[in-house]
């Protein structure tokens, strides 16, 4: 028997909740029309440790949390935190990784046994009796024919019903088939690993993306002909990944199904602002992003609550206890102005020097919220370094407060190399770039020498 009451009544068959953990407490959030988040019930004290990043898995509509010290659960039917207890056998307590695979609760990251993995009975996440021999029985890696993983486990990736990928720091393994029913472990790579428990994601086409030492990799869906992991960033921005330190950085990969972006978030553990990347799969480009320090994100997820476009978003958990989302109507980061820019070039119009005599910029049109602002900075120098990472010989800035096609700006900027930077640092302002036309005149020999 069920009652419902409310001013605006809908009759959804299901609802997508957002489970959040902060300060060791568990929260339950709802999308529109509620747009609210509140503590889960039965939490007079924090059920989890307040410091570590928590791993979560859902089995039979109950969420299981592990933090490396304890395991607790949240049946979504009650909304109350419930102490976790085994109904058969005993489970590993000091685990930091949790996942769901084939109806089993899978645990790993055991500080006492870091190369081992543990799977509950299929359909019964509290049954850890490894002595049973039926195909659905609980199984541990060291007690099964599949055996242990070759090095400490860093990530659990439930890829398909038949395959689970297990990531380590410098290797990648594939569990083929149920280990309780003759499954085996195959090494996919002994050089590439997964740098963090959330440093992976799978797109709707089944392509797995993960961050390994030295780059961003992809693995094609299993139904295609097998191909080894493919490096996606070796030809454009590999330095970003070479500089990662996953012991001091929290790395999250989130797939944006609407914009077809792969979001790679890198948040320093010390709470300072990190630099993130967005991988545009449609054009194959990498785009650096930066948020305020409080925006983190220390946790991130794709929240697809219902059919409404306003209820689908990539959510970012901050260092300040707030959860934020990208908003197409927002032109700043929760009240803080964005520092947005793009550097076009460098250009070398002539073998020797040239003069940039005229610049015509076509900016996009302003529609929607905010005002328009774009500062165009033209720079010249003797070599490509001077106009990129170095100091230009000369520069001039033009402030564009109107959108669309600008008047032609005339200047006499002399040099061997040139760049054009378009930027905005004004709060509540926006810009986009269509095209530009730079007109150069020859200016003789390059007399600047080092």
């Amino acid at each position: 028997m069920q009652f419902t009451q409310g001013g605006t009544f809908t009759q959804p068959v299901y609802q997508t909740l957002l489970i959040g953990v902060c300060g060791g407490f568990v929260y339950i959030g709802q999308a529109a029309p509620q747009n609210s988040i509140a503590l889960a019930g039965n939490q007079s004290t924090a059920p989890l440790n307040a410091l570590p990043i928590v791993s979560m898995a859902v089995v039979n509509q109950t969420v299981y949390f592990v933090d490396g010290i304890t395991i607790t659960s949240l049946p979504t039917s009650t909304g109350n935190i419930t102490a976790y207890a085994a109904t058969a056998g005993s489970y590993p307590t000091a685990v930091a990784l949790a996942a769901t695979w084939r109806g089993r609760l899978v645990l790993a990251g055991d500080s006492n046994n870091p190369q081992n993995f543990y799977m509950s009975r299929a359909g019964t996440p509290t049954d850890w009796d490894y002595s049973q021999t039926d195909p659905a029985a609980a199984v541990a890696g060291n007690l099964s024919k599949s055996g242990l993983i070759g090095e400490p486990i860093t990530a659990l990736i439930p890829y398909t019903d038949d395959y689970m990928l297990i990531g380590c720091a410098h290797s990648l393994w594939m569990l083929q088939g149920d280990p309780a029913d003759g499954g085996s472990i195959v090494q996919v790579s002994n050089n590439l690993g997964v740098v963090g428990k959330d440093a992976w994601c799978v797109d709707p086409m089944g392509t797995l993306y993960f961050v390994a030492t030295g780059g961003l990799y992809s693995v094609r869906p299993i139904f295609e002909a097998y191909r080894p992991p493919e490096l996606l960033t070796g030809q454009n921005y590999n330095q970003f990944f070479q500089n990662l330190n996953w012991s001091t950085q929290i790395i999250n990969l989130v797939w944006d199904a609407e914009l077809h972006y792969l979001n790679i978030y890198v948040a320093p553990v010390d709470g300072t602002a990190g630099t993130h990347l967005i991988f545009d799969t449609r054009n194959g480009g990498l785009w650096p992003q930066q948020f305020t320090a409080v925006a983190g994100p220390t946790a991130a997820t794709a929240y697809l609550s219902d059919a409404s476009p306003n209820s689908r978003a990539t959510l970012l958990g901050g260092t300040d206890g707030y959860i934020r989302r990208f908003d197409t109507t927002a032109t700043d980061d929760d009240g803080t102005a964005l520092n947005a820019y793009i550097v076009l070039g460098p250009f070398k119009p002539f073998p020797e020097t040239g003069i940039l005599a005229a610049t015509t910029i076509d900016l996009g049109e302003l529609t929607g919220s905010g005002t328009w602002n774009a500062t165009v900075t033209l720079a010249s120098g003797p070599d490509a370094y001077s106009v990129t990472e170095g100091t230009p010989h000369s520069s001039t800035a033009i402030n564009c407060t109107l959108d669309r096609r600008q008047k032609t700006f005339r200047q006499r900027l002399r040099g061997g190399w040139f760049t054009c930077t378009i930027a905005n640092t004004t709060d509540n302002a926006y810009f986009c770039f269509e095209s530009a036309l730079l007109e150069f005149e020859p200016a003789g020999r390059n007399r600047e020498r080092r």
Binding site: Q5, V21, C22, G79, Y237, N238, Q289, F326, D333
Partner: protein, 274 residues
């Protein structure tokens, strides 16, 4: 001689692998907080969308440790919010039932997720702990009745046109010696509206007996719809249309309504509710 250099949006992003003088076409050596598609989905480099808070609530002055979306079926949980409240009574035990409902008859039994109220019970059973609410019952309760009422608050905007509310109840009647009425009751604002229909007679709408024998189970489905300013309550039992009533005068409620049941077996028989 002028040398025009057209520049297009570098949609292929940052490239720092090549030599400085060899920047590939459609790439740039540096960018920050821009994306290859603008906020309206056109492929041209533009400032990215900003960030806003998903929820106004702060979870604590420390970092968020994890986020996970979970799909769930709504029925069993109570999700409190300013917009919707769901309440489910699963009848798992008499003690559990008694915690949420007052005036629970001591002679009632709970088994198989079903509450059975035997003969001789008259007082209403209502949800405890909420503000007082007096149900508006027919004055002559000479027959045993099972009544379930749901009240909802007028909102801003009003509930949308279409199915506003559907209540499904599984019940079984026993002791088929009297005419017994089932009263599906809806409170909207301060005006009570509902449909009364009979469980056991053979003449209702020309249909045969809905419950032909003791223990037979039927399902009441009550629907409220709105067309213009008219609210219409209809009820079906066992799939048979049992009647309808329309209401045009509605006064918004100022206090939260209280779900309640009225089970009256003072004249014999018993009622099982699930």
């Amino acid at each position: 001689m002028k040398q025009p250099v057209p520049v297009q949006s570098p949609i292929k992003g940052v490239n720092r692998v090549v030599n400085r003088e060899g920047q590939p076409p459609d790439t740039c050596w540096d960018a920050l907080n821009v994306l290859p598609f603008d906020r309206f989905g056109r492929r041209r480099v533009a400032q990215r969308s900003g960030l806003t808070k998903q929820y106004a609530t702060n979870l604590g002055a420390t970092r968020v440790q994890g986020l996970l979306p979970v799909n769930k079926i709504i029925y069993p949980a109570t999700l409190n919010s300013t917009g919707l409240t769901f309440y489910n009574e699963a009848f798992t035990s008499l003690a559990t039932f008694g915690q949420s409902w007052s005036n629970v008859p001591s002679t009632a039994t709970v088994s198989s997720n079903k509450l059975t109220v035997p003969a001789g019970f008259a007082p209403p059973v209502s949800a405890a702990g909420m503000t007082g609410y007096t149900p508006n019952l027919p004055s002559t309760a000479t027959v045993w009745k099972f009544t379930v009422s749901v009240a909802f608050t007028r909102g801003s905007p009003d509930p949308s046109i279409g199915t506003l509310f559907t209540l499904g109840i599984n019940y079984a009647g026993t002791g088929n010696t009297l005419n017994c009425d089932a009263y599906a009751h809806v409170n909207y604002g301060t005006v009570d509206g509902g449909v009364t229909f009979n469980w056991f007679t053979t003449t209702k709408n020309g249909s045969n007996t809905i419950l032909a024998s003791d223990g037979a189970v039927g399902t009441i489905v009550m629907t409220v719809t709105k067309s213009g300013s008219v609210f219409t309550v209809t009820a079906t039992m066992g799939g048979v249309n049992m009647g309808a009533a329309s209401y045009t005068t509605v006064t918004p409620r100022t206090t939260p309504p209280v779900p309640f049941m009225n089970i009256n077996t003072s004249n014999g028989g018993s009622v099982a509710v699930s």
